[in-house]
């Protein structure tokens, strides 16, 4: 059993292993960075730090009806970034993900309380964004 931060993006439920989560705060004012990847919402001033903010809904291909309001700050492989989300529902232990998913950005999915919850692979998300960003800058 691992401890996960469970969150909601639009109407879908996801979880992130707690060791990758630094804090959860309000989304705040995000300054767009023109020319960057569409999934990058921009940067946010987090107590004097310039934090990149990722549009998690766009990244996971989820249609959204209302703007996100919360920010989950995650870290992996020396990069930290904020994920724009709608809400954090709970922090709790959960079974390891056993269900396979099609998305390369998920470790897998697990059934909890009748919901199928996708577990976000933070390292892979950040690494793939970094790779695509650097490709984009070379063009």
């Amino acid at each position: 059993m691992t401890v996960y931060v469970r969150l909601r993006v639009a109407s879908e439920r996801y979880a992130i292993p707690v060791q990758h989560v630094i804090e959860v705060t309000e989304l705040g004012e995000v300054t767009a960075v023109p020319g960057s990847l569409p999934e990058m919402l921009g940067v946010r001033n987090l107590r004097g730090r310039v934090l990149p903010v990722i549009d998690l809904a766009l990244l996971l291909g989820i249609a959204r009806t209302a703007p996100p309001g919360r920010l989950l700050v995650a870290e992996a492989g020396g990069i930290s970034a904020g994920f724009a989300i709608d809400a954090v529902s709970e922090v709790s232990e959960m079974e390891e993900p056993t269900e396979e998913t099609e998305s390369a950005l998920l470790t897998g999915a697990t059934l909890a309380g009748g919901d199928l919850i996708g577990v976000i692979d933070v390292s892979r998300v950040l690494a793939s964004l970094e790779e695509r960003a650097s490709e984009r800058s070379r063009r």
Binding site: T31, R44, G48
Partner: protein, 740 residues
């Protein structure tokens, strides 16, 4: 050894060690099969840099071995194949280099021979005679003639005998030369050969390498030169932290003043406290930054001799001038600046400056001139490396016109201006490494050159890594900043003219492109107001005008990197957090200046659709002129009058343009041009069935009656003299000839 020599040696040792570490990581990945030929570029750059610096410092053994490694990597680049066995061999080389760098190594003739042999072996199957010839040269460079020769032979032999080649099966047949190899090699190498032969396959080879070398490695570790005592050695990290805190504090001071508000600021006591703490803080900031800055002279005192040695080796006669050596720079920047400067200088000596005979033929003084000039520019330092050599070729200039900038073309991986590869430099590795370096310290690089007229490479580097004086401006609700030093002036952008189909404004007699900052960064924005404020950006020789909604103020900011996730099409120096907590995006002035010339052409009178009901489009004019200035002058005159214009630099290009573009209705050509001159062009046009009636105007500096007759004889319709160039006369002739 003087203090400075010792310091340079220290710097070299640290840098080389770091680069060797990086190389070893990359090679280990190749060896284990986790990476392949794609890792060759960074390996190549690292070893090239080591070679360059070693050459400058006179470490011939290191230079020779590094050169051999470079040759092997060049082979990998050519064949795009990087077999793990080769990585194993290169790992031996990096170990040996590591030993040499710490002062414990010995000349590695035998290893150089192995490297050369591996290259010969890998290309031997495909008739690699020219390559083998080049490797012979490398072997000789390894040391005295006899040693180099022996090393090479030994290498070939041992190569045949190792398990590596038996494992791949490709060169198994050369095994019979094994005895020659052992004869030629030192004990260590022979042992490795035997062990390799005894074991089968790639694993055996790795084992052999490990078994053969422990002694040398151990020696290298124990006899590294001792750290010398200095007045007070503080780890750079601690000073970095101090500077960080100073920067953060500055930010909070700005926020304090902001949130105190007008009323509190009226209070005498609050004002006094702010003033005193402000002064103390400024002093603290200055002292902290001062701890990190040192004069450029710290790293340049060795350069005159290095240039002399290089010139001697290359058969050049070079006068080296260094000005502004007392200019101070951040220590971290300074320490890493040596390699880029070494690259630029050796490029200039080897490729730029011609031999004395060639110079005399070109009407230049036999002695070439090479200059480094450092000038402080606010919070930046401009360092220029200029030579009066042959410059880049016309083709490169032409390519740069399409690619956007000369630096872009020259810094392309694998680009070289040298026709042949020499031991001293070449392969064009230099400039991309230099540019990577400039970017890594948030600086920029600009290149100017004209065929035959030398080259200037300009590095714009920050004095301190953390603080930057910027001009803040606003567009569509976003705040941008650009280094103040790159802002020549702030103007109001009034009526624009058209230049190459783009908006332009004349500034001090020169038309410059005008671009909306939103378009430059790729953001959407509502249209600008009438007469918007604009910044004239100037980087090196390149200038451009950037329009915005409002210019805010200048401010010293702490530059925060945007990080790898936000890399993209727009070049940012980073971001800054302002007093009110908002974030300003800091723009790279070099990219702004470059991209203003590149923005998609706006719809002008030229861009009308060819539709039957529309009024006939203005006839297209081809301007043929080798002088950039005259060409652009004519272009702007014609475009302002509503004619679409295409240009060519000489007659040959003009003919190609005519083939490509059947809409060209008139040609305005210069008389004297390289390749094909104006008379030749006119004759060619008249001789062509399809174009024999195309109107041609010759514009030239010659004004004699004789020339006029020759022009008419060639078939020109009009003849105009450049002297006292009259734009009304040109337009009248054009109008007359195309009947408009």
């Amino acid at each position: 050894m003087s203090d400075l020599d010792a310091e340079l040696a220290d710097i070299f040792r640290d840098e080389a060690a770091e680069r060797l570490d990086q190389m070893e990581l990359a090679l280990l990945a190749v060896e284990s099969g986790a990476a392949g030929a794609e890792s060759v570029d960074s390996l190549f750059r690292n070893v090239h840099t080591i070679k360059g610096a070693a050459g400058m410092l006179g470490y011939d053994d290191i230079r020779a071995l590094a050169h051999a490694v470079e040759d092997v990597l060049a082979g990998v680049r050519e064949t795009a194949a990087f077999p793990p066995e080769l990585a194993t061999l290169l790992l031996r080389a990096t170990t040996a280099l590591g030993g040499q760098v710490t002062g414990a190594g010995e000349p590695a003739d035998e290893l150089i021979g192995d490297l050369a042999a591996s290259l010969a072996a890998s290309s031997g199957g495909a008739a690699g005679d020219p390559v083998a010839g080049r490797n012979g040269g490398t072997g000789r460079n390894g040391g005295t003639g006899r040693n180099g020769g022996t090393g090479r032979n030994g290498g070939t032999g041992r190569n045949g005998g190792t398990g590596r080649n038996e494992g791949t099966g490709r060169n198994g047949g050369t095994g019979q030369e094994g005895s020659a190899g052992q004869e030629g090699s030192a004990g260590q190498g022979g042992g490795a050969g035997d062990a390799g032969a005894a074991m089968a396959g790639g694993a055996g080879d790795a084992g052999a390498t490990a078994a053969g070398e422990p002694e040398a490695t151990a020696e290298a570790e124990t006899s590294g030169s001792p750290i010398k005592g200095r007045p007070l050695r503080v780890p750079a990290g601690k000073i970095d932290r101090l500077l960080d805190i100073v920067g953060e504090f500055m930010q909070y001071r700005g926020r304090l003043a902001h949130s105190l508000g007008a009323q509190e600021l009226q209070s005498q006591a609050v004002r006094e406290i702010l003033a005193v703490s402000g002064r103390m803080f400024d002093e603290l900031a200055e002292t902290a930054i001062g701890m990190r800055t040192l004069p450029l002279a710290t790293i340049t005192r060795q350069l005159p001799r290095a240039v002399r040695d290089l010139a001697l080796a290359a058969g050049k006669d070079v006068d080296f001038v260094l000005t502004g050596a007392d200019t101070e720079l951040d220590r971290v920047i300074l320490e890493s600046l040596y390699d880029p400067l070494a690259h630029l200088l050796s490029n200039a000596v080897i490729h730029g400056i011609e031999s004395p005979a060639e110079r005399e033929r070109a009407g230049k003084p036999a002695r070439g001139r090479l200059e480094i000039r450092a000038v402080p520019r606010g919070s930046l330092v401009e360092i220029m490396v200029a030579d009066d050599g042959r410059g880049v070729s016309r083709e490169v200039i032409e390519e740069a016109r399409h690619a956007g900038s000369l630096a872009d073309v020259l810094a392309r991986s694998g680009f070289s201006t040298a026709a042949e590869v020499t031991d001293l430099a070449g392969r064009g590795v230099g400039l991309d490494a230099v540019r990577d370096y400039a970017r890594s310290v948030r600086g920029s690089l600009e290149v100017r050159s004209e065929p035959g007229n030398g080259m200037e490479v300009i590095l714009l580097l920050p004095v301190a890594l953390a603080l930057l004086e910027v001009l803040l401006f606003e567009r569509a609700g976003r705040i941008y900043g650009v280094p103040l030093v790159a802002v020549q002036e702030v103007i109001t952008a009034g009526q624009t003219l058209l230049l190459e189909g783009r908006s332009a404004l004349e500034i001090h007699g020169r038309p410059l492109p005008v671009a909306d900052v939103s378009a430059l960064v790729g953001a959407t924005a509502p249209p600008l107001g009438d007469r918007p404020p604009a910044l004239v950006i100037s980087v090196g020789s390149r200038r451009a005008i950037v329009t915005c909604d409002m210019v805010l103020r200048q401010q010293e900011v702490v530059v925060k990197p945007l990080g790898p996730l936000l890399a993209g099409r727009t070049a940012y120096l980073g971001a800054a957090i302002l007093g009110d907590g908002r974030i300003a995006l800091l723009l790279d002035p070099a990219a702004l200046a470059r991209d203003s010339w590149r923005l998609p052409e706006i719809a002008g009178p030229a861009a009308s659709e060819p539709a039957a009901s529309e009024p006939a489009a203005a006839p297209k004019v081809l301007v043929v002129e080798d002088s950039f200035t005259v060409r652009e002058l004519q272009r702007s005159i014609l475009e302002t009058a509503g004619y679409p214009v295409v240009t060519a630099c000489d007659g040959r290009e003009a003919l190609a343009a005519l083939d490509r573009d059947p809409e060209i209705a008139l040609v305005v050509t210069d008389l004297q041009m390289p390749e094909l001159d104006g008379l030749g062009l006119t004759r060619a046009i008249r001789a062509s069935a399809a174009r024999s009636s195309l109107p041609v105007i010759i514009v030239t500096s010659r004004g004699s009656e004789d020339d006029r007759r020759r022009g008419a004889a060639a078939g020109a319709d009009a003849y105009m003299v450049k002297q006292g160039f009259d734009q009304q006369a040109l337009l009248a002739s054009v109008e007359h000839l195309v009947g408009r």
